[in-house]
């Protein structure tokens, strides 16, 4: 079947693919054919390019399928790409993966648009004034060596997104060779506060959540069907959860201040006053009456009346939730972005974990995770603390050489950081980039990367399911552009500048990867198998499945140290909470230049190609705002202008703007569409972890007097069709839960 040799061969013999595209596509010049007007027939003029050498399995017009790994987010879904005439056409999920079992999310589907994107960087670019000048790779490498000469490790900083697998090992080795410890790992949207809270309560950062075993899921703002941790996997578990254990359909209750995709799927959606998730969790523990000792002591004060007053959730609802949780066990309680995004996020998450423990879910629906037996390959994680440290160093002018890979801090850093200005203080800035995004534009040297469908690699997901797995990434087709390089190849080239002898055996990253995998063949389940056979099987499968090591799970969530702050004072200048919406397709905005993602309507508002400000209709009426009004949203840090969308799924004291749009660089499909709420985020940090409290920014809104027609798929506001409501609505407190379940 598919062997590595053929993939290499495919990668090694370029021919002009653009001609192929012409063959496949509709071409501009049309010739009138007898009997038919309007055709694209190009007899005798168009070139039809054949293979120079073709493998037996390559037949023009017939697809060949290769397994690889989705690189659109770090959930690590395995993909299976259809390749025809040497071009990748469509991605599907690989059914063999325990994570996605043959499924793929919309963001994953758009991976082909990352690859074919017309705005990819194609040559190494060196800054010359305001322009990037194309230079050769030799010159680029020489330049980096020159800039690094005589620079101490302290003066070097490497900023990256989450990296895992062999690339992480190689990157670590490179940083060692430079003598630097300044590796800052920054993912703009990461559940880092929840990780810390989990570590405290369960002894692990990310336990395995068993939606499929739960009878009730109570989620505090965890958008697990859309954008949280491993959404494709969770969606499948969710389907099982809905089918139910013993025929009893699982019930989903979502508590959040802004409705997410998961919230829209819930049986019960409760709007909670921003930041009071922990109070509600303690209130539920109180209402359950199951706690003893310290915990009972802690929740004593959280009687229904007080909790209802502080959270805005009616006492009746609290009773119903408690009754349901008592009736149905095991359940699963989750703390998501919304719960952790406050200065007391850790406390919120701790209260929620405590609820899990009181309900006896630990060990039942919260299981011990497995991980790969190679700790050096598990993903590096990080969030705003890392960025803040680096930003402080930059502000102090500490760094002479700065590298940036797989992160776009100029776009995602909270405005209060003034990251762009500080970044400019670094001596020499190197960006490894796919696009000329906001950060690459500030760099002195931009090195163009292969797309994920052209590159080699291994990936280890943070969230494992049944057993551990190492995902293989392999080229589905040869390079589109002759002068892009894989990150592994670049690192190998750079590390050879320092440790030529140690790495001279590896001609390229492919050789390195193959060597590293085969070296551990035994541990990877290939003991006694021929090298070539094992390697070819590994590539064919696209996944190495391992027994993995299991970290044991503790249940030491306790009342100790759990103090929830008094309800936040209303700020008269900035009366509204700003909730940054994380959408399933845009996430932190690194893929906004893929037009499918811009074009696919937001699942809740159906808006396309633009940002919006979600405001509760009541609040809007109070402020005299209607849909389509352009409003100015101002925080202490800055302001943005965007169109209003009236949305009943948001707390009246909050507004929400989705993140991911509002690029002023990156490419034709991203630049100039929408606004970037990161820009107006205040620097408020979570008390225990120091991470950015993303939901703490307070804003005010004012009308600008302009009004636009909101471009969206749904009908006019209120979802009326021909004057009739499509579906009648009943507010949640009107529903008798006991009748439903």
């Amino acid at each position: 079947m598919i062997d590595s040799g053929s993939v290499k061969q495919m990668a090694g013999h370029p021919f002009d693919r653009r001609d192929f595209l012409k063959v496949l596509g509709w071409s501009g010049a049309a010739v009138a054919l007898s009997g038919c007007g309007n055709t694209s027939v190009e007899d005798g003029r168009e070139t039809v390019v054949s293979y120079v050498e073709a493998n037996d399995y390559m037949v023009p017009g017939v697809g060949v399928y290769f397994n690889s790994t989705c690189a659109q987010c770090d959930a690590g879904c395995s993909i299976n790409g259809r390749v025809r005439e040497g071009r990748v056409l469509k991605l599907e999920g690989n059914p063999d993966s325990a994570i996605n079992k043959g499924r793929l999310c919309g963001l994953g589907q758009a991976g082909v648009q990352h690859h074919y994107n017309p705005d990819r960087v194609r040559e190494p670019l060196l800054r010359n004034g305001n322009k990037g000048e194309a230079i050769s790779w030799e010159k680029a490498y020489a330049l980096i060596a020159e800039k690094l000469a005589g620079v101490s490790g302290e003066e070097i900083a490497f900023l990256s997104g989450g990296v895992s697998g062999h690339l992480k090992v190689l990157l670590g080795n490179y940083l060692d060779s430079l003598g630097t410890k300044n590796h800052f790992v920054y993912e703009a949207i990461a559940p880092s506060v929840v990780r810390a809270a989990n570590l405290k309560a369960f002894g692990v950062e990310m336990p395995r959540y068993r939606f499929d075993k739960a009878q009730v899921v109570l989620s505090f703002g965890a958008d697990f069907l859309g954008s949280w941790v491993s959404p494709v996997h969770f969606s499948q578990q969710y389907a099982q959860f809905r089918k139910g254990v013993n025929g009893q359909r699982g019930v989903l209750i979502q508590v959040e201040s802004k409705m997410t995709l998961t919230g829209a799927n819930a049986d019960r959606w409760l709007a909670v006053k921003p930041g009071t998730e922990g109070v509600l969790a303690l209130g539920i523990i109180n209402a359950l009456g199951m706690a003893t000792g310290e915990v009972a002591e802690l929740v004593k004060g959280y009687d229904k009346a007080r909790v209802s007053r502080e959270t805005g959730v009616s006492t009746g609802q609290i009773d119903k939730i408690a009754a349901l949780l008592k009736l149905r066990s095991p359940s699963l309680v989750l703390a998501g972005n919304a719960a952790e995004g406050y200065a007391h996020g850790s406390q919120n998450a701790a209260a929620i974990n405590l609820l899990n423990q009181v309900l006896g879910n630990v060990g039942k629906t919260i299981e011990a995770p497995v991980s790969v037996p190679f700790p050096q390959m598990v993903p590096s994680k990080g969030n705003t603390v890392a960025l803040k440290n680096m930003n402080d160093g930059l502000a102090a002018g500490k760094y002479k050489v700065v590298f940036n890979f797989a992160a776009n801090p100029v776009f995602t850093a909270p405005g209060a950081f003034k990251f762009k200005d500080n970044f400019a203080k670094a001596g020499f800035k190197v960006a490894f980039a796919h696009y000329l995004d906001e950060t690459a534009l500030q760099a002195d040297l931009v090195l163009p990367l292969d797309s994920a469908l052209e590159d080699w690699g291994t990936q280890v997901p943070e969230y494992m399911t049944e057993g551990a797995q190492i995902n293989i990434q392999q080229p589905l087709m040869e390079r589109l552009h002759a002068n892009t390089r894989g990150m592994g190849d670049i690192l190998l080239g750079l590390i050879k500048q320092k440790k030529a002898d140690e790495y001279k055996g590896f001609e390229d990253y492919y050789a390195y990867l193959r060597g590293a995998v085969l070296q551990n063949k035994g541990a990877l389940g290939g003991g006694g198998v021929e090298d070539d056979t094992f390697w070819n099987d590994t590539l064919t499968q696209g996944i190495v499945k391992l027994a993995g090591t299991t970290t044991s799970l503790a249940a030491h969530a306790s009342a100790a140290g759990l103090v929830l702050p008094a309800a936040a004072e209303a700020d008269e200048h900035f009366p509204l909470h700003l909730i940054p919406g994380v959408t399933a397709s845009l996430r932190d905005g690194r893929h906004t230049n893929q037009p499918w993602l811009q074009e696919s309507p937001d699942p809740l508002t159906t808006i396309v190609w633009d940002s919006w400000v979600e405001i509760h209709p009541k609040k809007a009426a109070e402020l005299g705002i209607v849909e389509g009004d352009i409003v100015q949203v101002t925080s202490k840090t800055g302001s943005v202008k965007a169109q209003v969308y009236l949305f009943p799924g948001i707390h009246p004291e909050a507004i929400s703007i989705p993140v991911g749009r509002g690029h002023d660089a990156m490419g034709r499909y991203a630049k100039g569409y929408g606004v970037n709420p990161f820009q107006i985020m205040d620097a408020v940090f979570e008390a225990a972890t120091g991470e950015l409290a993303m939901h703490e920014t307070r804003v005010k809104i004012s009308k600008t007097g302009q009004r636009v027609l909101v471009v969206k798929d749904e009908g006019s506001a209120g979802a009326l069709q021909m004057g009739r409501k499509i579906a009648g609505r009943v507010s949640t407190d009107q529903v008798d839960l006991s009748k439903e379940v």
Partner: protein, 229 residues
């Protein structure tokens, strides 16, 4: 004013449409009708006649070699598109044919091979993008099931290639021309062909004939979606 004009124009249009339909419907174009395409300049003037032509008994150096079309055009029976033979295919034979190794065309061919570059052949047969012609089905039908000679089957659309040097389009390849064949009553089983009972059924959406013999006739598929997918 304009509105006033519209109706008469519509009438005239209708009349023209109807009369042209009448003129055409009386006599469908024959499948044999030739409609030569443009003479195409190819990077290498490939002699089809030398490869596929009939042998010259008196002088083997002069005639053709009667190579089966499918030897080089191997994709036609396996895929909707016929593709162009990979360069490797040419070299596979020619590296062992010393006698012509220094002929200009062969020298040119090896230049591409040594540079590992594809020969930029020009398209000779092209269909509009909204038409999906399937080579594989036609070969299955005529060559494999009805056992017709390969050159005859390919020739229905490509003409008498064994007589050509560089191929040239011989038929119009327009829809009416395709239909002229699909609308004819054809024997389901040719002499010497494999009798397949279900043939008539899937071929023209009739109930399977009780006994399929040389007299059973059927038509090619005539649903729009067969080609316009």
């Amino acid at each position: 004013m304009y509105r006033f004009l519209r109706f008469p124009i519509l009438l005239v249009g209708l009349f023209l449409a109807a009369s042209s339909f009448a003129a055409n419907s009386s006599q469908p174009a024959l499948t044999t009708e030739d409609s030569l395409g443009p003479q195409v300049q190819q990077p290498i003037e490939f002699p089809h006649n030398r490869h596929a032509g009939l042998k010259d008994a008196s002088d083997p150096a002069k005639g053709g070699m009667e190579i089966n079309c499918q030897y080089c055009h191997t994709y036609a029976r396996r895929s909707a598109v016929a593709g162009i033979p990979p360069l490797q295919k040419c070299i596979g034979c020619h590296q062992n044919i010393e006698s012509v190794r220094n002929k200009p065309r062969i020298v040119e061919l090896f230049k591409y091979w040594d540079a590992k570059k594809a020969v930029p052949w020009k398209k000779v047969h092209d269909l509009p993008d909204f038409v999906r012609f399937n080579h594989e089905r036609h070969i299955k039908r005529f060559v494999e099931q009805q056992d017709r000679p390969v050159q005859e089957a390919c020739g229905y659309c490509h003409g008498d290639v064994k007589e050509m040097t560089v191929a040239r389009r011989q038929k119009s390849l327009a829809m009416g021309w395709c239909a002229s064949c699909h609308e004819k009553d054809h024997p389901v089983v040719a002499e010497g062909g494999t009798p397949i009972a279900g043939q008539a059924y899937w071929y023209s959406f009739q109930k399977p004939a009780a006994a399929v013999d040389a007299n059973t006739k059927a038509r090619g598929p005539n649903d729009c979606w067969q080609c316009h997918k």
